[in-house]
Amino acid sequence: MNWLIAGALIWALGWYVNVRLAALPKSRVTSLLVPVIFGVTLIIIWECVVRGLQIQQVLLPAPSVIAARFASSTSILWQDWVQTVLKGMMSGYVIGCLAAFLTALAVDRFDFLKRGLLPVGNFAAALPIIGMAPILVMWFGFDWQSKAAVVVVMIFFPILVNTVQGLAASDAMQRDLMRTYAAGYWKTLFKLRLPMALPFIFNGLKIATTLALIGAIVAEFFGSPIRGMGFRISTSVGQLALDLVWAEIVVAAITGALFYGAVALLERKWTFWHPSQRS
């Protein structure tokens, strides 16, 4: 009971502080502090509720238990991370991005292909492509190759559609200017159209980061060697070792946020001239 009261008090305190902070003029400090306080309050309340109501370990482990498990099983987590993220996800991401980019260049050269492929690509983006996972696991075996293949299939269309859209972003006036400079196809591509396409391409790349991680993890539900984050999640759920599952989820969340952040940082560096990057 004391734990519950403590949780309610902390909630009230955190919310009060946030209300006061939000009323201040917006600055870098407040816009960073407010969400951090909110997040920390939520975690403390989670801890208090689990202890106060004495929720069983197998239903919802407390954050402290998850943290302890995280610290004690770093070697397992590392091994799974290497298998899923470095081998499965990253190789699939690189291959998928390159394949989609080159296809987009080819599609862009032929108007017929553009009109034919874009609707199909948009259609494919709405499909539950993750369902291809069991087939690809059958074709490429249990190891990371099949996970990379799932990632490639999942990210291909979002990047293709965005890149083709981006390559159309330069207007006729600008292309005419390039022609008056006697610039050929390749020169126009590298000096004008690719830089103009970058914001669109980065949009596709950012969507693809999340899809890639989901693809690599879910593909492991359909079969994998005895390591990998998806494998660990599905088997630990079976053993009701939920603290390990949560630890894997923490790893996945950090990986996803960092990967996305890295791509966003690159975007800021390369497309600093775009209105959305100038605040």
């Binding site: 909110f38 034919g116 983006a125 993750i130 069991p134 696991v137 949560w246």
Partner: protein, 287 residues
């Protein structure tokens, strides 16, 4: 209509590639069989064999079509082998999750737009959460809810809800903030209350954003329902068909479940697109 011919050409090319890939992938097994039977295969016999194997690596389109026909039209709907039955299981979870996610998403978006504290505390987390592979916790939600005694439709719907929730929040916040200063000032000169501004200006101008995010949310909800069916041990639903098919190497069954799931997703998204056209037309907002 201008795009019809190119699109049909691309689709035809995909089907031709599919048949070609079926020959390529299924050839080793065809040769293997022929060798054990002690017969030589001519090229035409080889191709015919690769397109009619029982458990091919890649079933040919006509095999999948026949399987879909057999499991939808020729089976009773109540039968456990009917794909319509399995589609309905998935569809009901999808729709329930989608409805819950939309309602919750709009509610949170309204809170974010009207309350600065909620905006500053919650919005960064909503954006961060989009970078996290939420689908990874699907098995856990299913098992935990199962342990509490909640089974069947609801756990899957919760996963769908979770996935469709975020696009709606992000889209609606953008949409509710889309009226510019001029319009908001105009409302103020009319002495409009907060509620009036919301109902007469903010909500109507958010509609295009809402429909765009509803399409994304629907696609996400289907993925959620399918993945949610995996850890329950393949009881019912399209995800269960996928898993059972992959256990027993029934590739034709996997492909037919996959195509039906694709058709389901396309239909649902198209329905939202249709509603969008009608609503925006009646509101005079059609582009």
């Amino acid at each position: 209509m201008r795009n019809l011919f190119p699109v049909l050409t691309v689709v035809a090319a995909i089907i031709v590639l599919w048949y070609g890939a079926a020959v390529w992938l299924n050839t080793p097994w065809a040769y293997d069989k022929a060798q054990r039977a002690g017969v030589e295969l001519s090229t035409s016999e080889l191709i015919a064999d690769t397109w009619s194997q029982k458990k091919p690596k890649l079933p040919a389109p006509h095999q999948v079509t026949r399987e879909i026909w057999k499991t939808t039209v020729e089976k009773k709907i109540t039968s456990k082998r009917s794909l319509i039955y399995h589609s309905w299981v998935t569809l009901s979870a999808t729709l329930l999750g989608f409805a819950l996610g939309t309602v919750l998403g709009i509610a949170l978006a309204v809170g974010i737009v009207f309350n600065r504290t909620i905006d500053m505390s919650v919005m960064p987390w909503v954006i961060t959460s989009q970078t996290i592979p939420i689908l990874a916790i699907a098995p856990m939600i299913i098992v935990v809810l199962n342990a509490v005694g909640i089974q069947g439709l609801l756990p899957k719907a919760i996963i769908s809800m979770y996935l469709s929730f975020f696009p709606v929040v992000v889209g609606m916040v953008k949409g509710l903030r889309s009226p510019d200063h001029m319009q908001l000032d105009q409302m103020r000169t009319w002495h409009a209350s907060g509620a009036q501004t919301f109902w007469r200006l903010r909500l109507p101008s958010s509609m295009p954003y809402l429909f765009t995010s509803l399409k994304i949310a629907m696609a996400a909800a289907i993925v959620g329902a399918i993945v949610g069916e995996l850890p329950t041990g393949a009881v019912a639903g399209l995800g269960a068909r996928l898993l059972a098919g992959s256990y027993y190497g029934q590739t034709i069954q996997i492909w037919s479940a996959l195509l039906v799931a694709a058709a389901l997703a396309a239909t649902l998204v198209a329905i939202i697109g249709l509603i969008q056209r009608i609503v925006l037309n009646r509101m005079g907002m059609a582009q």
